[in-house]
Symmetry: C2
Subunit: 249 residues, 2 copies
């Protein structure tokens, strides 16, 4: 992990950009931490970190105010990372099907999402290895992210993640429904009810499939990127409740 920049934001949050095996990332830490901070992995949507930076920063500031460090890395094929022709092809295939008004079949969804899951999950686990060796960063670890199949796989295979906020709203391969049954950590799933690009029933089915004893679904209005502020606050309280010691919220 190689830090490339460091700045102190106006609210005292320290923002450091880094690269890890060629993957760009950002780490935010609260300025005044008396003990190693718990960590939230902020997984971005596949739009490039520069584009989604304002949304991630808002969540990182919120997390820092609660005492969390948080970190993100660029997804493969997004932002400044190398072009990934197979992913671009899968996206083009999806667009063509949608424009033709045809149903989006399993083959299209698998080609679009599974390679992304298979490449991304090991990258996040490597990032977690590196982040947890930094001074000032401790556990427990939470996850909050936007491609729900990535979050599901990661929650199923990575025992260091103790609680996860999952944003529904992307296509879900069939195999992910099976993996969801292996997930046992507390989950907080956000669903934008009237998100036109989202298969609502698939999101409800995935929520049903999760094996977790504590799982909550929060459905709201407002379109794909219109998660209400109060819903973001509730997700923050969920992570605080599960990851901060001695906090009752």
């Amino acid at each position: 992990m190689h830090f490339t920049s460091e700045q102190r934001l106006d609210d005292g949050v320290i923002e450091r950009e880094f690269t890890l095996g060629g993957i760009p990332g950002i780490l935010w830490t609260p300025e005044s931490a008396s003990a190693p901070a718990p960590l939230i992995l902020l997984s971005p949507p596949p739009l490039g970190l520069r584009k989604v930076y304002p949304r991630l920063l808002a969540r990182a500031r919120h997390a820092a105010a609660d005492g969390f460090a948080s970190a993100t890395i660029e997804l493969p094929g997004s932002g400044d990372r190398p072009v990934w022709p197979a992913l671009d092809q899968a996206r083009a295939d999806l667009r063509r099907v949608l424009q033709a008004g045809e149903p989006v079949g399993d083959e299209i969804i698998d080609a679009l999402v599974l390679p992304l899951v298979e490449k991304t999950v090991p990258e996040w686990r490597t990032a977690l290895d590196a982040l947890l060796t930094l001074p000032g960063i401790g556990g427990p670890v939470g996850y909050s992210g936007g491609v729900i199949s990535i979050g599901t796989r990661l929650a199923a295979v990575e025992p260091r993640i103790s609680a996860a906020v999952l944003y529904a709203g992307s296509y879900i391969p069939r195999v992910i429904f099976e993996e969801a049954r292996q997930v046992t950590i507390p989950l907080h799933v956000l669903l934008q009810w009237d998100d036109e690009g989202n298969d609502r029933q698939a999101s409800l089915d995935l929520f049903d499939a999760f094996g977790s004893e504590e799982k909550t679904l929060h459905a709201n209005m407002g379109g794909h990127t219109g998660v209400p502020r109060f819903a973001g606050d509730e997700a923050g309280r969920f992570l605080a409740r599960h990851l901060l010691p001695n906090v009752i919220r």
Copy 2:
């Protein structure tokens, strides 16, 4: 409205029992209110006020801590109110169908729920008239209750109710889905996801039908009466956000 008892609870909440046109009810008010308190109507499930008193009291204490007065009245055919043979017959018909493993048809649901809605909603409006004339009780008015068809009808027809928490988990007549489209106030719907006695899909369909621009569905695990404490807290924050002036939560 005739008060029959008054006591100060250990946390300073004043609890007064009353009768209104022969209907028993309870009013809880915060001890130290500097201005007329906003009001929450706490509609009980049809099990009798004595039986559900602990649950209602917990919600009333929570509400009082936020500065709310809250009030409940006994549902027709429940608790100490006169036996209602038609309701008992409808419940017996439902039990017979369930025991036979047959599907619960629209006729059974209509006979079980619609008379209850038609009798209860005017009673709550009359109670609201009386409650709002009391010194120390002002607006705005919220609703929080358990037979979702009663809450839906009341939210559709009673303009003095500004926000409502609705507990899914009872059978829903078809006509109520139509009335739901007329509801425009902010809604917070609680659904116990694995409630065996509940038609989950009907609850999701009703949530979809509500005409409100702001509506939120919170689904949780834990069975019919197992609403998690954090979910109750979130419902309380919803009411505070909409009904208390100058509160940001």
